[in-house]
Symmetry: C2
Subunit: 312 residues, 2 copies
Amino acid sequence: MEPIKDFEGLAAHLKTLDRPRKVAVVCATDDHSVEAISRALSDGFAHFILVGPHSVPGGVMDGYKGAIESVGFDLTPDEAAAKAVEIVHDGQADVLMKGLINTDNLLRAVLNKEHGLLPKGKVLTHIALVEMPAQDKLLFFSDAAVIPSPNLEQREAIVRYMADAIRRLGGQSPRIALINCTEKVNDKFPVTIDYMTICDMARNGEFGADTIVDGPMDVRTACDREAAAIKGIDSPVNGNADGLIFPEIQSGNTFYKTITYFAGARLAGLLMGTMAPVVLTSRGDAATAKFDSLALACLLCGDSDTTSANLE
Amino acid sequence: MEPIKDFEGLAAHLKTLDRPRKVAVVCATDDHSVEAISRALSDGFAHFILVGPHSVPGGVMDGYKGAIESVGFDLTPDEAAAKAVEIVHDGQADVLMKGLINTDNLLRAVLNKEHGLLPKGKVLTHIALVEMPAQDKLLFFSDAAVIPSPNLEQREAIVRYMADAIRRLGGQSPRIALINCTEKVNDKFPVTIDYMTICDMARNGEFGADTIVDGPMDVRTACDREAAAIKGIDSPVNGNADGLIFPEIQSGNTFYKTITYFAGARLAGLLMGTMAPVVLTSRGDAATAKFDSLALACLLCGDSDTTSANLE
């Protein structure tokens, strides 16, 4: 499999797989959700269970019989969230998607200790994928939205999720950069001590024999070959990262907001760590963001071993 | 005075002032320094004292007699740094500029407790100014390089420096955004508690009657009118910030590196808080960065009241 280089390539790849994923959508009454659902049906990579009220046109419902169904049209948003979570929990859906419901309310259902989707001991995090004019490939980054300041265990989990995600995009040797404002390991920045441990683990093959993790390094050293060369730092990650892991949420969120406004970024984002990826894009995001996030969720859900086999 | 909208406008404005600033340069042997010096001489807004070795061509030295002099050509870099700091300390120069000397070595001279340039009780910080294709004006931000995690007193000082800097660019009512990953004041993010205090101080006129400070808000809400409108947050700063203050160095540095690589940014940066602004750009920066930083330093140095009077 050739590495997927942009979002059009991602959708095209999903089309070829011929294994539609089942997506439970909570309150699909917003235009972005309806648009994403219609396009995914037409591409054929997802089937849908619409939970709670929806405004998917009758023509679409009829045109894709068997690929789309509606459940509990009269439910309140909170009831719809609980129902959709139950459907995913019971294994009847592979992805959970947010429609017109408050993010906090959806998360309450997702994180419910008894009936929710976060297995005990799993780390909940946000992973985003971005396509930018200045970059000739897709780039993952985390965490821009969930964990304020990850501890070592959470950082390890994020590296694991990201290495798997990069492999599913067709990247043979995931190259992950651990971001910090300087390249020095220094207890003035305790995150760099965590990074040293993670780099050791990577060298011991704990994230997969082919996964290369390096840092601390800044965003530019991670992505810009020329800047990396000027700094004279030699590493397979420098200037060529497939994924960036930020030290804490402030820098992750700054990267997210900066590239979407100043760098013409096209961006998808997901919650990971849950039993199924959760698509959480909100009204402020671009119209394509929901579709791209849905496509990414359909690539990342399900058994990773099956997908790895596909790569060989 | 019309607000200065880009770096060409900044240089053009300095030309009209007819009050050349005196700049002490440490080891002007790198091409970027020589280029910046030659252009500033030709524009007429700076005079130079070259301290230590330099490679400014004889033709330039002869052509601008009275506007450029050389001191201690045989000094070592450390000696040249100490000498240049002494010159600034004695009031014979208004700006200190780094040539080909290690940043740490120059900073050691600048921060020397007995002979250095940081008055007791003043806050040392880094302020940057950026021009980007996606933005129709210049934007200040801080701190991307010096203070790992500012305390309340340091944040107040940064707001003061920035409000003054914005006014000197011709901004009548400086609009400063306090950056955070969400818009909520929440003790999960202690910086937002500091922000509340700073916003109160701003309302009490402590940063100048015309200075508007608002936050917490994210980078996009601060700069993108459309995003601010979608979020429904109403403030004169939203979507129209003149300056961004980051919660800590990781997010400030991420913004810096991201805009320079992904958003085609043209950028100037200075150390502030010292008796004179310090131009610290390094080899990795673009060739224009040194000239732009020098121009910015010449605008920001000296008595701010004189400049304020110019604005009225």
